[in-house]
Amino acid sequence: MFELTLGSCDAASFGLVFALEELRANYTLRVLDLPALEQWGPTHRKQSPSGAVPLLRHNELPLAESDLALDYLAQHYKQLGFSDPAAHYRCQKLLFQLRDSLGENANLAGWAITQSRAEQTDYRQRLNTIEGRPRLSGWTAVWRDAVPMEERPTAALAKLVEGIMLISQTLGDKQWLVGEHFSIADVAAYAGLRDIGTLLPSGQRPEDNPRIATWMTQVAARQACTAAHRKLIKQQINMRFPPPQD
């Protein structure tokens, strides 16, 4: 039995719901109020001290890294993954790249666009009061600090365009991103792309790339994709771009 804790339908969350539907897994959803910082409350932190959302649990095992959780699902069900070691490597690397280039940057840019400056300031002030919250450190902090706060949403949009390029190059003339069949790579990439068109100018959106547009139509037509959308709508989980955690 799986339990998915989430507070939005962002790329990581939608990808997990999509994969669970593809695999016809038995699962339940637990919804957190992210703007109210519920992921930092004692109940959730007992399961995930780092406040990770989304958080998939399988029996007693918390799976906090969304890309590794997709790999876990593929391995557990022996579907949507790869037995060929080189293909599995390409899939793992792509999932990780997509998480960095699309997921987190879409959330940052989207949240900044949909919130007023005052709302953003209020949220960050409340976030800074959370005790024991992990802080960015090492090279990640150096890279983040190199971009002034007010320019970060714009920088995030540039990363989204890079992410679209990555998918375009990986897809090439193939039907699916990795190997010969639909896989968790397609699940994660679709989840990363499906909402970012609203953030980008015409000409740079995923659907402006004919190959990506054809591939997205193929993925969107899958029964599990529709079921994932329905599931999230039914639960009224409609926040596309959740607030940042740092």
Partner: protein, 279 residues
């Protein structure tokens, strides 16, 4: 970098040259060491092509022609490039015969991957801290235009930013303090995870131990007063177990500079390792 340089680190089997793993990397230190540790554990033949980070060969056109991302380690096997340092280890574990370094059970496999990710993430702070202490002083006498040229030939913006900060601008106090705190917090987390167990995941030595050791074997040198038998006893016991492992130390012995300090650290920790170098 001499691309023709080949340093066989094991007896060549009947494998064809295309099957022979080519490892382009620096000393077996931090990420640069991951594939070397794995291949040595497997007692597999491989070619070790040395990329000298202190000579900034990561930005050398010869290396970029192998790995356009311009970062070590890079592995080439059967004509394919593998340049994600963590996931390449799983690939090598699967395709190279020898003892498995990956647990079979789904749950342990996830936990191993998560531990590898966490250690690799925490190692960013170790690396930044080391750049601040070791590499930054070595760069300060280089002429500005030479530094700018070295920075410019890094292929990614992230690497250019990191290099500029390390070589020219310097790190902020907050960045250094946060890095130090992260290292300490993570060592305490490892100490807790090692309660009642010999290795980080399950009952067997795995990639999680390799990746963590590769990044944290010298932490007692950097945080002398904070990382001790009193403060983190489980971690220290695990560290000694790693230093006692002949294959890990034999791998350290493949290096030319930085990794050789592992032998001094082992001595300081009263670890005797007669097997090192005989693998």
């Amino acid at each position: 970098m001499d691309l023709n340089e080949i340093r066989p680190a094991g007896a060549l089997r009947s494998a064809g040259l295309d099957d022979l793993v080519q490892v382009y990397t620096y000393d077996p230190n931090s990420r640069a060491g991951y594939p070397l540790f794995v291949l040595m554990e497997k007692e597999a033949p491989f070619n070790y092509i040395y990329v000298d980070l202190f000579a900034f060969e990561e930005g050398d056109p010869a290396f970029l022609s192998v790995n356009p991302e311009g970062a070590v380690p890079a592995v080439v096997h059967k004509g394919q490039l593998f340049n994600d340092s963590v996931f390449m280890c799983e690939y090598l574990n699967t395709v190279i015969p020898g003892p498995s370094l990956v647990p079979e059970a789904d749950n342990l496999l996830y936990l191993m991957r998560e531990r590898c990710r966490q250690s690799d993430d925490a190692a960013q702070s170790v690396s930044m801290y080391a750049w601040n202490r070791i590499i930054r002083p070595t760069l300060k006498d280089l002429p500005r235009n030479e530094l700018e040229q070295l920075i410019a030939r890094n292929p990614t913006e992230e690497r250019r930013v990191a290099f500029r900060r390390a070589a020219i601008d310097g790190f902020t106090t907050e960045q250094v303090d946060n890095a130090r705190n992260k290292i300490l917090t993570y060592v305490h987390e490892l100490n807790a995870a090692l309660t009642g167990r010999e290795w980080l995941v399950g009952d067997a030595f795995s990639l999680a131990d390799i990746i963590t050791f590769a990044n944290f074997y010298a932490v007692t040198e950097n945080l002398v007063d904070e990382v001790t038998d009193t403060t983190v006893p489980n971690f220290m016991s695990w560290l000694r177990r790693c230093f006692q492992r002949p294959t890990l130390m034999a791998t350290m012995g493949l290096g030319r500079t930085l990794s050789l300090r592992a032998f001094d650290i082992a001595k300081k920790l009263d670890v005797t390792n007669e097997g090192a170098g005989n693998v």
